[in-house]
Symmetry: none
Subunit: 202 residues, 4 copies
Amino acid sequence: MGDKVYSEKQIAIFNAIIELMKNGINPYSIKVSDIAEAAGIGKGTIYDYFNSKEEAISEAILYSVAKEIEYGYSRIKSQDSFKEKFYELLYMIAEKSADNVSTFNMLLSIGEISKLYEFLLDEKYDLSEYVYMANQIIKHILKAGIEEGIISTTESIPYQIIVTNSLIMGFSQYIRQKDLYPHVSLEETIEMCYKAVVKVLN
Amino acid sequence: MGDKVYSEKQIAIFNAIIELMKNGINPYSIKVSDIAEAAGIGKGTIYDYFNSKEEAISEAILYSVAKEIEYGYSRIKSQDSFKEKFYELLYMIAEKSADNVSTFNMLLSIGEISKLYEFLLDEKYDLSEYVYMANQIIKHILKAGIEEGIISTTESIPYQIIVTNSLIMGFSQYIRQKDLYPHVSLEETIEMCYKAVVKVLN
Amino acid sequence: MGDKVYSEKQIAIFNAIIELMKNGINPYSIKVSDIAEAAGIGKGTIYDYFNSKEEAISEAILYSVAKEIEYGYSRIKSQDSFKEKFYELLYMIAEKSADNVSTFNMLLSIGEISKLYEFLLDEKYDLSEYVYMANQIIKHILKAGIEEGIISTTESIPYQIIVTNSLIMGFSQYIRQKDLYPHVSLEETIEMCYKAVVKVLN
Amino acid sequence: MGDKVYSEKQIAIFNAIIELMKNGINPYSIKVSDIAEAAGIGKGTIYDYFNSKEEAISEAILYSVAKEIEYGYSRIKSQDSFKEKFYELLYMIAEKSADNVSTFNMLLSIGEISKLYEFLLDEKYDLSEYVYMANQIIKHILKAGIEEGIISTTESIPYQIIVTNSLIMGFSQYIRQKDLYPHVSLEETIEMCYKAVVKVLN
DNA sequence: GATGAATGAGACTTCATTCAT
DNA sequence: GATGAATGAAGTCTCATTCAT
């Protein structure tokens, strides 16, 4: 994680691609000329750093996921209690939900990345590292809950992870469909989610 | 729902598109010639029934979602108890998880359809009907749970729906990433999910 | 002239094509489906009577030209004096100038028909008959002028025809560009044209 | 007039289109691949300089008309007397009559350009400038005739223009149908035309 | 005889990629 | 190293023509 070194130009290209996606452009609809313009470089330059448009987009997505996972993990680690850590995660998800393509969300459902962009299925991209990291974050949060006695050790670790993951993903969906369900505030939703996790795992 | 009438040819085109998507072809990557070949018709024929490729694909997706929702609802209704209804839903999700694009999954996160295919954002496609139906299914299942005394009425309806929805979506994700988490069987996962819902809403 | 016999259906097709052209549709832009709809028949029927769209349109144009020449000739013959005959011709041209494609105008410049529709260049279409007829009309009018002593016999017949033809074509252009030159009335223009012919040939 | 600046590539494309038209290809029948081949460029390049095939052809026609009007005007201006100017115009028309589509002829009947290619009717193309220029040329020639006392000032300017225009157009038609009227030489026809103008307007 | 649903050749256009500058 | 003009493969879509009914 984070062991890959990218040149300044590559990072400019990544940021351009991520910006386009956040603005609602589907990765399949992104044109090389869009990327070049957004990055403030010539079209040809992209091919000096990547072998194809698909490679550039694929690596941009992975770069973004990695960065967001690291950033998220650090923010969560900086919190002290189980409740604070859990709330921090949900707040981050809510913050990112404005982005049309939140790579942060993928943190929770890495397997879905390839639904976003089929070229990520290529075997040259190893997603397992990200799955591992995402699990680590959940484990880290749960560990705090267990230490604080909020979460019991009766249930198996996989059970705890699956259930927690589910509720977080459910929260994420809910937030993104806010316009479909306008009656409940963000605060209330976060409280509901926390309450449900505690109840299920206490 | 189901009030739209399609000609035989249109349905053949829909089935061809759905088949392609189930085989893992991204809607953005589908070519008109693919559809024609899969439907066993000429390319031009598609334009006798739809104004553009995008329209054909958009309507195919909606057709599939509508059909699956109806089919799923009927299967769930045919079950007698809360547990049977809930299990039936999870079994269906598991069955469909082999399809690369399970429109059934969209039942649970209709808002995500437009992430699958941006052209569905066009205002001529009204997705609210599907959102409503999806909610109806969850309500129908929960109602059985309440009547059987398995689910308490302490919590608000929105809370119950959000939490149930979350856990089902979480289950769906889990199933689809089976290869990433090979240690737990399908049966066990279904049981876990049911157990969690009961615990959180009892 | 007029010795070709057409079936009712063929004439319906001709009329449909002529109608479309009068409504401003360029012969190159006419579609078989347009013709069928305008004629109130099925597309396939057109191919029962013509070998191709081009043949149908080509023959429709020639049919229209022949009909208009005959009609024009008869109207001019029915007039008694040189001036009446000449005015009758100009009136007819003015009447037809509303038609986007006046086949009547072609009477005067048959050679231009093939500019209208290149397929008329095919050697199977003999336009010389029409050229002959157009010349006959001019000769007929001039003959009256000579008999009445309005036109002198000093100049050669070709000279008389060329000059008369030129002035008539000029009139026709002028009428069709009425919106570009709005200051002169139709009556005045007709008078000018007549006056010029008389002056040049007296 | 002549104030539009075109790139070298655009002019190459214009020349290719004009060449095709001079070779007898109807503008409606011109294919993008024809243009590309004739211009010695790739098909895609055309779309770097024009938004559509129709735009390229429309602008090519206008470019050609503008260039020919300017060229023609300069040639006529360089002549000293009325007769020389008039003869120069008729010679030019005769020279150009070999071109299947003489944009020079349009100089005399600009309103007909849109009959040649309907896309020129688009309001983004302003043809009035060309109409004005064409009139200027006729006025310039007539002015010389008046100054030399060959043309009287008895008749109104519009009358003079209409009649002159008509006789020139008539000449142009005649020349182009040379094969239909083989008995009169070019020299004789030019003389006839000049003689008629002088007689009508003296 | 008449039809119009179906076809597929062929046109227009886009855009990823190259390469001379 | 960087560029963007140029390319042409490949895709969408149209429409003349066919042929089963």
